[in-house]
Amino acid sequence: MNKLFGYVLFFLSIAIAVDAKMFKADEFLLDNGLRVVVVENHKAPLIKQMLWYQVGAVDEFRGHGGSAHLLEHLLFRGTAKISGDEFNRIMEKNGAESNAFTSYEVTSYHQFADISRLEVLLALEADRMQNLKISADDFEAERKIVFEERKQVVENNPASPFYERLQQMLWGTSPYGRPITGLPEEILSLKFDDTLDFYRKYYVPNNAILVLSGDIDVATARPLVEKYYGKLKSNPLKRELPASVTEQFHQQLQMSLPHIATPRVTRMFMLPPRKELQDKIYAYDILSEFLGGGETAEMYRDLVLRKRIAVSVSTSYNYMTRSNTVFTLSLIPNTEKSFTPEYAITALNTSLIKARNALTEERLEQIKRKISANMVYLNDNPQTAASWIGYMLSMGFDLNEIQNYENKLNAVQLKDVHQAFDELLQASDIIGILLPSSDIRRDHDE
């Protein structure tokens, strides 16, 4: 009875939601090319500002790995108008949580604060787009910090060499195969002037997207954004992204590392970029949910619950990129049972192929219901919408498509997912196995 009632409720909510947009959001463009998106959320007097520069680790010169990330750090070191540590002090004084991150394709600076402080956030973020002023000493100190950051965040994890090697094999000579942090020797050899050149070239309003999410509307935001960002000079910029990977390959990586207690098995598939796949990305997204999205997914049922070969199976599909999209299967074997890499790979592959038969109309509809039911949470914390929308815009989605995300997923048909499945099995791939050092058998010892 209850279940039936739930379904009725569900269809009612769909009927209401058909034309509803996911966010109360709108955008405008400044004369200098800065693209601005405002997302309304009035539950509390809060604002998230995120400024997304369309530049990241893939734009670095070869051998200069880590410069995009080091530059991100340097933006907290002062400008001609806000000297030294003043930036952090002002942010703190205004109760703002302030941070930044660098990825392969974007560098994002963001603050979360009381709405009454918005103008200070706008003034300071706009100022450091073009007025950076730092000393050689600051540069040296910050270079040491990012070196320690790589040690702490990446290298302290004993599994990191395995995942960095996998990334490198998957992408070959493409910059996407290099670590975002840069290699330790690259960090140590970065030059002050090179980093500043990078700043001057890419940090311009016409290469950035500003997202304001929270207790604000376009009518209030527009004059304020004009006031602080409007006077920044634009500079024509032609960003050339690395070519996507087209060659076919099927590779395997087996690595033994010290301090590893439990083996890991990973299979990564290289798929075409979104500009080729178009709406097919939504079919892959649903396929990922079906195969490994949580503890009811098909491969979890098969390998964890039925066969007891693994203690965890998961999948992910990364389409938040302008280059090849990547589909990843990950498995942690159940070592309470006997384990060999060969057995785990065979089990993973058999389970993957077998899963196709379980993909029915009924399961597809269930996945769509799950996705729809959880959409409401995107409008809870204003920071969630800011990150999500900012990232998608940076990857080339337009606001209309973001607003239609749920509809796009609901439009996926069973044949689309089956087709995605078949294409996935044909795609280039790498199988990676990470083993504890003591598990090295003689024939694998190099």
């Binding site: 703190e92 040296e140 910090i145 702490q152 009811t296 219901r369 409401v376």
Partner: protein
């Protein structure tokens, strides 16, 4: 015009130019105070009203907020955390947090998870050393399903043999993986050394042999002993009225037994003496956690120490130790201190990691700053700035519905009063410089004990 006159004129022009330039530069610095004063947004205000409601003898805090159709419920069973497990049943609480999601009432484990996801109902359980916590969140339209699922798992969990075995396997894997990363090795060793002989010293996940020995009846017994009305705290937030919230409490918690069958564990005896406990481990960095005694939430020392800690190591990049050790010297990616208030132990804790070369330098600087703090405390200006910062960030706690529900639970656990949110900024404003510096003397006057994991470099090796 002779040359002298031209020279004089030029000099005058130059002087004027210099003055103008200086003036221009001064004016061009961004005056954030003025921006704030003149901002069109400066008068935006916000009122949050916490209500106390009651049903079946259970009281709860509620904060209504109807703009997003989400309801969140956070609840805590006090004295039901890992420190309350029997000595030979370590890992039981963690097993229970997982097993409550693996089938109950009308639904087996797969159905339970499928239906939760289909209705956007999010249920989760967790535990710390003291308490067992539960969380329920759902879209307003699906509140009945949320109540049904949580109620069934609290009263009719399946605890099947199959899922117990599977979860034990997962825990054994996680236990082994805990030895992989320097950070988790440090966390375990810190508890083991600092709380030696006390239940807090146990690893939350249990030990290989205790995990293997856990049974279905252990789970059932633990729930009956610990899931009761008397040790229950509830926070509710979001799109729900007081009357609906009362009904929700009645439906979910109304049938719980009255009294828990536990007694509070003994207090930890802690006296730090500057001990340095080294654990040898091969990793790129050396990592430490250090501590002295702290103070409990309702003590008169709390706000003064809270402010002192904020200035010293609690405020992130702007803190004293971060400025010296990270920003000026680049010795670490992050260094921080924070206050811990457990039921029977309070601490002032800190931590950082650095490559072995930098580790000892950072430690020397840290101890130098620490002793300076104990002797001189902070300045009036530092205190004013800290107060301003903490007051200005007050509203950030209202960002998510779930976060608000958790805060309401914490307010009751620490007995902060129903008016805490209105009064909190005044509590901060009223603290004097003398109070902060007395707290600095008392707490930073202690010498911290260090637990250090990594490769130790001797002074001789450093000189090479």
């Amino acid at each position: 015009m002779n040359k002298k006159k031209i020279f004089k004129l030029l000099l005058t022009v130059l002087l004027i130019c210099c003055t103008l330039l200086t003036l221009y530069q001064r004016n061009s610095a961004i005056d954030t105070e003025r921006i704030l004063q003149q901002s069109v947004l400066k008068d935006k205000t916000f009122a949050s009203h916490v209500q106390q409601i009651e049903a079946d003898g259970i009281t709860a805090y509620l904060l209504e907020e109807h703009s997003v159709p989400i309801i969140a419920l956070n609840f805590t069973f006090e004295r039901a955390g890992t420190a309350y497990e029997p000595e030979n049943k370590q890992g039981l609480t963690l097993l229970l947090t997982e097993m409550l999601m693996n089938g109950a009432g009308d639904y087996d484990a797969l159905q339970f998870k499928d239906i939760s996801e289909e209705y956007g109902v999010r249920i989760s359980f967790s535990a710390d050393t003291d308490d067992f916590d539960g969380f329920l969140q759902m879209p307003t339209a699906n509140v009945d399903m949320g109540i049904k699922l949580l109620t069934s798992t609290l009263y009719k969990p399946y605890f099947t043999y199959d899922y117990i075995t599977l979860t034990q396997n997962k825990m054994q894997t996680a236990l082994r993986n805990n030895h992989e990363h320097i950070g988790s090795v440090l966390a375990d060793k810190f508890a083991e050394i600092m709380y030696a002989g006390h239940p807090y010293s146990r690893p939350a996940i249990g030990k290989t042999e205790t995990i293997a020995g856990l049974t279905r009846s252990d789970l059932i017994t633990y729930m009956h002993q610990h899931f009761t009305k008397q040790n229950l705290i509830i926070g509710i937030a979001g799109d729900i009225t007081p009357s609906a919230a009362k009904l929700l409490i009645h439906n979910i918690f109304g049938r719980l037994p009255q009294q828990p069958q536990t007694e509070r564990i003994a207090a930890v005896k802690l006296e730090t003496t500057g001990a340095q406990h080294y654990i040898d481990f091969t990793a790129p960095q050396t990592m430490t956690r250090f501590a002295v005694k702290g103070t409990h939430r309702l003590s008169d020392d709390f706000y003064p120490l809270y402010l002192a800690n904020y200035i010293f190591g609690g405020s992130g990049l702007g803190s004293k130790i971060s400025k010296v050790i990270r920003e000026e010297n680049g010795l670490t990616y992050g260094i921080y201190t924070y206050l811990v208030a457990k039921d029977t132990l309070t601490l002032l804790v800190g931590g950082y990691s650095a490559t072995p070369d930098n580790f000892r330098k950072a430690q020397e600087m840290l101890l130098h700053e620490w002793h300076k703090m104990g002797e001189n405390g902070v300045t009036e200006q530092e205190l004013q700035q800290a107060k301003e910062a903490l007051i200005a960030s007050h509203n950030l706690r209202f960002a998510s519905t779930g976060g608000i529900a958790e805060m309401l639970t914490a307010m009751q656990k620490y007995k902060l009063g129903i008016d805490f949110l209105e009064k909190r900024n005044d509590y901060l404003r009223e603290v004097t410089l003398e109070q902060v510096n007395a707290a600095a003397r008392k707490y930073f006057g202690q010498i911290p004990d260090f637990v250090i994991v990594g490769k130790q470099k001797t002074k001789q090796e450093e000189k090479k």
